[in-house]
């Protein structure tokens, strides 16, 4: 019997990873020392020109760096040298606060839009205009009004998380199966109880899908926002390490951003599964 699909997929994944690492290693291999160069000139030019060595770190360098960061993620040696863990914690906290405020705003308003055709029509033009605005376009306005760079990035996270949740909640609430609402009506269930016992559980999978889209967008945006406002956070770390020309650290940060994004997505996916019931 053939090995299970999971096993075969895992083997293939490992092979692809090895191939990628190998190509990477080959790609950064230097072309050997340059010939006939004035030693004084060679000193000025540095290793890239004289020995053909690429400035791009190899997989081993990155691996060592990742290990270094993992071993000591929470050190703090001043404003430009903090552990990756601390930077991540700043980013996650900003995303968390902005996202939770967005949840608190989007779900009630989404309910209102979903339950009231009047509100749906009245708010639709605003949503249609606000939705396509890049969240970073709000940044100057936020900086001017809030006057705090960290809070401004929280605001940007709030505004970018809002729309998918709002739209999905409204859609989920508006498309609750009519017969479930009829059940509530024949049982003379009041509006509030109906909202919590029929509409909320019926719309929960759609709402959580919106929340999953939002957390993904929020995690994309926080990196850009922190590059702009600076100070702390994983986005600032990337930009800072670019200014330090530490490509190794930049690649390390990219990997970490990917892993955290995946974890956030999986948490929401798990939650969605918890509230989804087949009929």
């Amino acid at each position: 019997m053939a090995p299970s699909l999971t096993l075969r997929a895992a083997v293939l994944s490992a092979a692809l990873f090895l191939a990628f690492v190998l190509l990477w290693q080959l790609g950064i291999q230097g072309g050997g020392p340059a010939q006939q160069m004035d030693p004084e000139y060679a000193k000025l030019m540095g290793a890239t020109a004289t020995q053909g060595k690429s400035a791009m770190p190899g997989p081993l360098d990155v691996g060592t760096k990742v290990w270094e960061h993992l071993k000591n993620p929470f050190y703090d040696r001043g404003s430009n040298d903090k552990g990756l863990g601390i930077q991540l914690a700043y980013s996650i906290a900003r995303v968390g606060i902005g996202y939770l405020i967005a949840v608190a705003v989007a779900i009630p308003i989404g309910f209102l839009i979903g339950m009231s055709p009047l509100m749906s029509r009245a708010l639709d033009p605003f949503i249609q205009v606000m939705k396509p605005i890049s969240p970073l376009a709000w940044m100057p306005l936020a900086l001017y009004t809030i006057k705090d760079s960290s809070l401004s990035s929280v605001f940007v996270i709030f505004i970018c998380s809002l729309w998918p949740m709002l739209i999905n909640t409204a859609f989920g609430v508006a498309s609750v199966r009519r017969e479930w609402l009829d059940v509530a009506r024949t049982l003379e269930v009041g509006t509030l109880r109906r909202a919590f016992t029929i509409i909320l559980p019926a719309a929960a999978p759609t709402i959580l899908t919106g929340m999953r889209i939002s957390i993904g967008i929020a995690w994309l945006v926080i990196v850009a926002a922190e590059m702009l406002v600076g100070g702390t956070g994983i986005g600032y770390f990337v930009w800072n390490e670019w200014n330090n020309l530490s490509i190794t650290n930049v690649i390390t940060a990219i990997l970490v951003i990917g892993v955290v994004g995946m974890v956030l997505d999986q948490v929401l996916a798990r939650l969605t599964r918890l509230v989804t019931f087949p009929e």
Partner: protein
Amino acid sequence: MPPEKFISIEGISKRFPAPGGGDVNVVFENLWVSMRRGEFTCIIGHSGCGKTTVLNILAGLDVPSAGVVIVDGQAIEGPSLDRAVIFQSHALLPWRTVMGNVAYAVASKWRDRRGGEVREHARKFIELVGLAGAEHKRPAELSGGMKQRVGIARALSIEPKIMLMDEPFSALDALTRGTLQDEVRRICLTTGQTVFMITHDVDEAIYLADRIVLMTNGPGAVLAEIVDNPLPKERARTEVHRHPLYYAVRNHIIDFLVSRSRTFMTERKGGAYDPRAVPLVRPGLPEPTLATPNPSAAPRRAGLETAAS
């Protein structure tokens, strides 16, 4: 007309404005019919004649364009816990267990009851429909028949004055349908439930109903006649078809569905038809003579069959 009008449908119509304005689409017009307490009434008609709308009006989920429905001396104003609906598609809440679905209805009816009391009450009705032991399953884990049993338990658990059933067995296989019909009949007889049921199945109507209302085709559907079921109150599924009048009733209804439901409207223009007094018909011909209808041999037969004979 029966002496007591527990449910009285008085001149209800349903009209929709035609798309783009202009004239009106009439689904049905000026329906008058009444039901006694404890009576099992089936309504038969082709799809699109507005049966479900009639049921929804009775349930209070829909409002008639004209007319009124009076239940137990009170005009219907919206849905009520006095009238339970069994939906065609069972309409169970998939995130709740069997117990949760029934308890939800119980807790809606008796809002001050404690959780334990609610569950105890719900358990009685889950047992009544034969689902004891399946309380903790969710609808997705149940077969179609079991789901509909939960729907029945939920409707019964609020101890309604009237049960309204919208083709409750149409989505089930023949065997399950049979057993569920038996159980619904048993439960309704023991509890003296008043039932109004939509069906497409003639045999089901004859087995379950005391009276069968025949509705003509839409648009502009009307109630053609009410068939008084000659079968005794005590009837067994295995015996009903041996009743001397079974096939007379059956053929009468099938004749109606096949041709007269379509032609009734044109017939009506010639003869007298009073929508307020829908004729009560007792198809009483014994089967052998049915091939050659002889009006004199049917003393119990009501009028209005002039066109057929």
